[in-house]
């Protein structure tokens, strides 16, 4: 390169010589596409410089050859790429580029001519093969290619003359096969058979010509050919019999398909595929349709893997159709495969599409009937891909998926079906049966969505959409109430309940649900009125009774809190009239009696508690607790003793401990808790910790939490509780460590997800606390007139 030229090159532009170097590097590593790209750029650059410098690229030594070298290298790159790509038309295009750039290399027209023959364009091949012959004299491949091209274009006479001129030793197995093809072309299959020395010469009616028998020396060559040649020989032998009209012999020969090795060459695969096609055709002629269909399918698969346009592929369609029809009654699955393959060849084949659909449905029905549920579901789902709005298919697929445990897919199908049915409801309003089915389907869909754990918001959306169409769907409305209550949305639940009341009128069940919902909305008075109404409506209804007892209990507690002890006692008596064995009312009444200075009544009521079941330790603990609360320690201890005599387990100790804690006898409480902890379960330990935490004894609580961790080191709950205790004490680092333990223990365990979620929200809170702390500090430290007033600082500290 001249200095001038280097300067002239725009920044970032690569010089042709460098482009060539890059191309050579790419070629070395067989990156042909890349090499061609570099060389095409080099070619453009060279042409540009040639026109600029009067056909001189540079004044550098050796640079005169560069344009030629670029063309030669580019031609070679196109040639090697053409030999590796599977698309024959791409090959032709590459080889034309090669020929265009280097007309002196015989390999390029040779390859181009052969590819033209392969794609059935023999006319275009002849000229290229003639040119190749001139450029590559005495080259065996070029000669063979010329014979091939001549045969393909019908020049059999020239081929005959050429064969005559060839010395015997030159005729190898490849040329013998071509000679046999020539004999076939001339309508002499017997002569062709003789030339190839097919395994059996006994082709019906064959008489081997003298000319053919003279070639027996060459036959030896054929026998000597390596194993790779076998596949071609067998194929040609079989086809020769077929051409001779001897179906039986053809089938016999073609039946001997050579064993296929791994990594067979494309040429071998073509021969195998053709072998299978012709064997299939022979089976078909012999009415062995199952075997024929199997061979066609395999031939088809092989041909597809080659991406070659083989002429017999187009002939497969009628074979597939006939084979599928013949097999419909005996092997419907093979029929299905045949029609599928037709559609692979021609996606617009209406008969194949219609018959495939019928066959799939038929087989699915049979499979279902025979208990092959997986297959049935698979086929219905396949059909659905082509008929996504087919209601019968949707329903069958949904039921099939459900039966085989694919609930997710079942939900998809049920959902589509109900979405299709919803708009029909208006036009089919007189079809009662349809409406009933539709409502049932809606309910089933929601149940299934809940069963598989669909996000509750999605379930709710589905219910809302359904209720818009069928506002009187009572089942769905009830479900909606349950979901809203579960999601902590009592206002929406109340709306649904009111709609339900309008649809079906007042009932105990609805009133009770409404009472609970109003309670969640803190509308206590309204809640009590509604529950009382439910009880009045049906006093014998156990749920109504229980609800009303709770309402009276709450009223009694409220009266007690307001020091209206007699009112509270009367309410307890009212509860006991409804249920004389209602222990909470007996307990409260006993307590009130002590407060009302009526110890006899209190003792009598406590006795009633024990009488509920004197063998039950819990009743003695309740009795002891009541005595302890009113400083009757001796009686209390006597009852606790009885309880422990009846049931000396961890639970009894825990309950007794709780009683002592309620009576602020902490030492005794802790003694009993320790006894409970000695034998208690993880749950008992956590309950004790919770009780102590509620009584503001976090340090004691922590001791039992640690014991719970020892009891079950894999459970994240104790760590979560500890984290929250640390947060309360602003021990950020310790809290963080416990939260990390929760996340570690709960990772990847769906059943522990709620703990992990809780830990994450606590961690978020910790981060916010840290941020607040940081900001407060910066405000406190602010100097000068911007400093915060002391009142506001105090307020912020309190907030902290």
């Amino acid at each position: 390169m001249t200095k001038k030229n280097k300067k002239a090159a725009p920044a970032g532009k690569i010089q042709p010589a460098d482009l060539v170097k890059r191309a050579e590097e790419a070629l070395r590593f067989k990156r042909y596409d890349e090499a061609i790209q570099w060389l095409l750029r080099a070619e453009v650059e060279v042409q540009r410089q040639e026109s600029k410098n009067g056909n001189r690229v540079t004044a550098d030594a050796g640079a005169d050859e560069l344009p030629t070298w670029v063309r030669v290298l580019l031609a070679d790159a196109f040639f090697v790429r053409a030999l590796t790509v599977s698309d024959l038309h791409q090959r032709i295009s590459d080889l034309e580029e090669a020929v265009k750039r280097d007309a002196s290399d015989g390999r390029y027209p040779l390859a181009l001519g052969v590819v033209h023959v392969a794609v059935g364009e023999a006319g275009k091949a002849v000229e290229h093969l003639r040119r190749a012959g001139e450029l590559l004299p005495d080259n065996r491949i070029a000669e063979r290619a010329w014979v091939l091209g001549s045969l393909a274009s019908g020049n059999t006479r020239e081929v005959k003359d050429w064969f005559k001129q060839q010395p015997q030793e030159k005729l190898d197995a490849n040329l013998h096969r071509l000679r046999a093809v020539r004999e076939l072309t001339l309508g002499n299959p017997d002569a062709a058979a003789a030339l190839l020395a097919c395994p059996s010469q006994a082709v019906a009616g064959s008489s081997v010509s003298d000319g053919a028998s003279r070639q027996s020396g060459a036959v030896g060559v054929l026998r000597e050919v390596n194993r790779e040649a076998t596949v071609y020989d067998r194929l040609v032998c079989g086809l020769v019999s077929l051409a001779a009209g001897d179906q039986e012999q053809a089938l016999k020969r073609l039946a001997e398909l050579p064993r296929r090795r791994e990594n067979v060459s494309p040429a071998e695969r073509v021969a195998f595929a053709m072998h299978l096609f012709y064997r299939g055709a022979s089976y078909f002629q012999a009415k062995h349709f199952a075997e024929a269909a199997t061979d066609f399918a395999e031939a088809h698969r092989l041909a597809q893997s080659l991406e070659l346009k083989l002429s017999w592929l187009g002939r497969l369609v009628p074979y597939y159709h006939r084979a599928a029809e013949e097999l419909f009654a005996t092997d419907i699955n093979q029929s299905i495969e045949c029609w599928k393959l037709v559609l692979e060849i021609d996606a617009k084949d209406k008969a194949a599409r219609a018959n495939l659909d019928v066959a799939r449905r038929t087989e699915a029905g049979r499979a279902w009937h025979d208990g092959r549920y997986e297959r049935a579901a698979e086929l219905w789902q396949e059909s659905l891909k082509h008929h996504p709005l087919d209601e019968t298919l949707l329903k069958n697929a949904a039921i099939g998926c459900e039966k085989t445990g694919h609930q997710d897919q079942a939900v998809t199908h049920w959902r589509r079906l109900v979405h299709l049915w919803r708009p029909q409801l208006k036009s089919r309003r007189d079809d009662e049966q349809f409406k009933k089915q539709f409502l049932r389907a809606e309910k089933h869909l929601i149940d299934l969505m809940l069963e598989i754990g669909t996000p509750i918001e999605d379930v709710q959306k589905e219910i809302d959409a359904a209720l818009k169409i069928t506002p009187d769907n009572k089942e769905l409305r009830r479900l909606s109430v349950e979901i809203y209550l579960g999601r902590g949305r009592p206002q929406q639940a109340l709306k649904q309940l009111e709609s339900l009341e309008r649809i079906e009128g007042e009932s105990v069940e609805l009133l009770l649900l409404k009472g609970v919902t109003l309670g969640m909305l803190n509308r206590m008075k309204a809640s009590r009125q509604v529950i009382e109404r439910a009880y009045e409506m049906e006093p014998t209804n156990l749920a109504a009774q229980r609800g009303y007892l709770l309402v009276l209990g709450e009223e009694s507690s409220e009266a007690h809190d307001k020091d209206q002890l007699e009112v509270a006692a009367k309410l307890c008596e009212q509860q006991l009239k409804i249920d004389p064995r209602y222990r909470p009312a007996l307990s409260h009444l006993a307590c009130l009696s002590f407060h009302l200075n009526d110890p006899d009544k209190a003792r009598e009521t406590i006795a009633r508690i024990i009488e509920l079941d004197p063998t039950k330790a819990e009743n003695h603990v309740v009795a002891g607790s009541l005595y302890l609360e009113h400083d009757k320690t001796r009686e209390a201890e006597a009852e606790f003793k009885k309880a422990l005599a009846l049931n000396p387990d961890a639970d009894s100790y825990r309950r007794i401990g709780e009683s002592y804690l309620d009576a602020r006898k902490v030492k005794k409480a802790l003694q009993n808790f320790d006894r409970a902890a000695a034998t208690g379960s993880f749950e008992t330990l956590m309950e004790i910790a919770e009780t102590l935490h509620d009584a503001d004894r976090d340090r004691d609580a922590e001791r039992f939490i640690d014991l719970a961790i020892i009891k079950d080191p894999e459970h994240p709950l104790p760590h979560l509780i500890k984290a929250s205790l640390h947060v309360n004490r602003s021990e950020i680092k310790k809290a963080s460590e416990e939260l990390a333990a929760v996340e570690r223990l709960g990772a990847g365990k769906a059943e522990l997800r709620e703990f992990v979620d809780e830990a994450r929200s606590l961690r978020k809170m910790l981060q916010q606390m840290n941020e607040l702390e940081r900001r407060l500090k910066s405000v406190e430290d602010m100097p000068g007139p911007g400093r915060m007033p002391p009142e506001l600082l105090r307020l912020l500290k309190q907030l902290r």
Partner: protein
């Protein structure tokens, strides 16, 4: 699962899926006559169960919803759509052109040795 995929009750009673209430009742009594509880207690149980699935409107809606439509299982070959063209008879010309194609692919393989 709150439903069952049992036998098809319509088939058990020998009625069409669009049968009216009256037709179902009629079919039920006919069947019961053939399979009385004394002569065929198992058969009677099956018929009774099928009738119960179809006699009440709600039960029938439930049955219909979870019933597989397997009517197509009875379809025979005559219902198929006929493809017009027959497979072409194999001719010498076809064999020859296919063999030449194989030979050309084989040659292309060999050309790799010249690359």
């Amino acid at each position: 699962m709150n439903f069952s995929f049992g036998d098809n009750p319509y088939k058990t009673l020998g009625v069409n899926q669009n049968a009216t209430e009256g037709e179902i009742k009629h079919a039920y009594f006919n069947r019961v006559r053939e399979h009385s509880p004394e002569r065929d207690p198992e058969g009677f149980k099956r018929i009774r169960a099928a009738y119960e699935k179809l006699s009440a409107a709600n039960a029938r809606a439930e049955t219909d919803l979870f019933l597989i439509d397997d009517q197509s299982a009875d379809i025979n070959v005559s219902t198929l759509e006929r493809y017009d063209a027959e497979p072409q008879p194999i001719t010498l010309k076809m064999i020859e052109s296919d063999l030449l194609a194989v030979e050309s692919i084989l040659l292309l393989e060999e050309l790799k040795s010249l690359a």
